[in-house]
């Protein structure tokens, strides 16, 4: 058993607002080893993107972030100065964002941006940085890499830009890579290619990867471990098989019923749905946040919600030991 690269314990993120404090992330835990892929699933506002920004130290100053533990390869991220975090980011941990058009600088060439990523962190010359940029562009499947270096982001298609983003994130061979909805803005065909590429590179470089997404199809195909977030909380986590084959939390099971699955859902038939909307997280949140939308909620859901384990690392937060109608 190798040491985890990343350990997050009781992470909370509060956002002061005029109406009160918004508890955006409410005490989440997970850990990740090298070579593992963790998917954080949840809908908009569940806190999944804030969690990844917190790890990277990219939260806005207005937000208050606390954790019992936030360790990255033995470094306590809570105690790092902004300067030290800058040195880590792009070097030992890197991030890939959803929209490659807005995260690349339109005024600089692809080559400049790729080389900067390396020269910022390593004492290398231009020639060496250039060689590495060409090597990585080749690795992410871009043909004629050398001629691409002098191109600007607007000259590339969405899929190519996302490949450039990936190449940039990999310039320094990070130990941890966080991809926040990396394929949401792309076509299905390109999505499959980019995900395959990420999975291959992750294996080859033995990186730890966190993939933030709302697409359960992506999760099933790429994750080793899954964290399901709802209203700032981890409602269920486990191995990818546990989550998809024996989901325990009513929210996870609801989500899985919502998506049409070719061959399983009958065309034209009603899909499952989760009625209601996500509750406000401003002020104190008591009990299970999902209870207003849950079809098996009881009075007891308003107070204590135990975290249950079904053996191993499969955890879910629900008053019911086994859900009525759940596969056991």
């Amino acid at each position: 058993m190798s040491e985890p690269v990343l350990r997050v314990e009781n992470l909370t993120i509060d956002i002061p607002m005029s109406q009160g404090t918004l508890h955006a992330v409410r005490g989440i835990d997970f850990e990740l080893k090298r070579g593992e892929t963790l998917c954080i699933v949840g809908e908009s506002g569940s806190g999944k993107s804030l969690t990844s920004l917190a790890i990277m130290g990219l939260l806005s100053k207005k937000m208050r972030c606390n954790a019992a533990r936030l360790d990255f390869s033995g470094i306590d991220l809570r105690k790092q100065s902004p300067r030290a975090m800058r040195a880590l980011r792009g070097d030992r941990m890197a991030m890939i964002f959803q929209e490659p058009m807005t995260s690349l600088n339109p005024a600089y060439t692809i080559g400049d941006q790729l080389m900067e990523a390396l020269q910022l962190h390593r004492p290398v010359g231009r020639a060496e940085a250039r060689a590495r940029a060409i090597e990585l562009l080749g690795k992410v499947g871009i043909t004629a890499a050398e001629s691409r270096l002098s191109q600007y982001p607007h000259q590339l298609s969405g899929g190519l830009r996302q490949r450039v983003m990936i190449a940039m994130a990999l310039m320094c061979e990070p130990e941890l890579i966080i991809a926040d909805e990396p394929t949401t803005a792309l076509d299905v065909t390109i999505q499959a290619q980019i995900l395959r590429l990420l999975a291959d590179l992750q294996r080859e470089m033995n990186m730890a990867m966190i993939l933030v997404t709302h697409d359960l199809g992506v999760v099933a195909r790429i994750a080793d471990k899954v964290v399901v977030m709802y209203a700032g909380e981890v409602v269920e986590k486990g191995s990818v098989r546990e989550i998809f084959e024996t989901p325990r939390h009513p929210y996870t099971r609801g989500l899985l019923r919502c998506i049409p699955v070719p061959g399983k859902t009958k065309p034209g038939e009603h899909l499952g749905s989760i009625p209601g909307i996500v509750p406000s997280l401003i002020g104190e949140v008591e009990g299970c946040a999902f209870r207003s939308r849950c079809d098996v909620a009881e009075a007891a859901c308003a107070s204590n919600v135990p975290a249950r384990r079904t053996g191993g690392d499969h955890m879910y937060r629900c008053i019911h030991e086994v859900q009525p109608g759940a596969p056991s």
Partner: protein, 340 residues
């Protein structure tokens, strides 16, 4: 280029009228060419956004239109909505051609639902005004009858009456999309063009909207053109599917048939890239090596040949034949009848 268009047009004319009712909406060899400049000093070049598209949509059908970004899906939707005029070809409603002057006829019978309910609703108008706007534009009814229609629409799409005086920013994404649906239906259209109606929504909301669209079709006898890149959603809702590649419909067939046995290599690749939530499978390899071609400079022969794993020598030079099947067609050399 012109030769391909003619072959396609000829092929389209050769399609015998199908058994049963006439199509409610028909595109006959529609082309749309834009002129684009690539640099300050270069001459404008033609961009063939639609290269001879022939489509028939029958009443109560849901035609799923799939393809990658840039293939011309949205241009097609714009032409149907009367927002763009075709360069050549015809748009027919109930077998009668709609000319450029009669765009309002199109607008009365065809209404759109757009992708992003955050940008498609005017933030400064209250919900009642937003839903009533099409009636006002077309000068239908007086304010009392409009208010009645709006109230009926809210019930139809499952929104409470209290949102009438509210503004879009007070609503969730799903509620906004319901408002957009109500606005589309207030004109009593026969055809609704849904352009990626759920792709900006969360999974749990997406299923609610898909269920609603399905119910409304049953209830009101609507016909949908359902544009989406989510093939699982298309398979769920569509009765027929048309696959577009670089301005052409490369395959069209009844949904069940197309999903069970895709014929065009591009359709196969699209279906292969659908990620079903099965943890026992990994990310598929679609073998679509090269990237999407530049529409200003399309590949010779079959436009798909540089990305096609089963391309033949002929695919590089000759445009693909229009091969008809019992209930659809495929444009592909691989399915051409052997020459006698």
């Amino acid at each position: 280029m012109s030769t391909t268009t003619t072959t396609q047009a000829a092929a389209a004319q050769a399609v015998a009228p199908e058994a049963g009712a006439a199509p409610v909406l028909e595109l006959a060899a529609v082309t749309k060419t834009y002129r684009v400049k690539q640099g300050m000093f270069s001459a404008a070049k033609p961009l063939h956004a639609l290269g001879g598209v022939s489509l028939r949509i029958h009443r109560k059908d849901v035609l799923g239109l799939v393809g990658e970004s840039g293939c011309g899906k949205s241009t097609l939707a714009k032409i149907l909505l009367g927002l763009e005029a075709p360069t050549s070809g015809q748009v027919l409603i109930d077998g009668r051609e709609v000319t450029a002057r009669e765009r309002t006829v199109l607008a009365r019978r065809i209404q759109p639902i757009f992708q992003d309910p955050y940008s498609s609703l005017n933030p400064r108008k209250c919900i009642e005004d937003i839903i009533a706007l099409p009636l006002v534009v077309h000068k239908i009814g007086d304010s009392a009858s409009r208010a009645k229609s709006v109230a009926r629409m809210l019930d139809l799409v499952g929104l409470p009456q209290r949102v009438l005086r509210g503004y879009p920013n007070q609503l969730s994404g799903g509620q906004r999309q319901r408002v957009a649906i109500a606005r589309a239906l207030v004109m009593n259209p026969e055809i609704v063009i849904c352009d990626e109606p759920t792709s900006a929504l969360d999974v749990s909301v997406q299923s609610q909207i898909l269920n609603l669209l399905g119910d409304l079709r049953e209830e009101l006898g609507l016909t949908y053109l359902f544009i989406s890149h989510n093939l699982a959603v298309v398979e769920h809702l569509a009765t027929r599917v048309a696959v577009m590649y670089l301005g052409r419909i490369v395959e069209e067939a009844p949904a069940a048939e197309l999903f069970a046995g895709p014929r065009h290599p591009y359709t196969k690749a699209l279906l292969d890239s659908v990620l079903t939530p099965d943890p026992n499978l990994s990310v598929p390899d679609t073998h679509l090596g090269a990237t999407y071609p530049n529409p200003i400079d399309p590949p010779s022969g079959c436009h798909f040949h540089p990305r096609c794993a089963s391309a033949l020598e002929i695919c590089k030079t000759a445009p693909p034949p229009h091969v008809r099947s019992a209930q659809g067609h495929v444009d592909c050399h691989l399915h051409a009848a052997p020459a006698h």
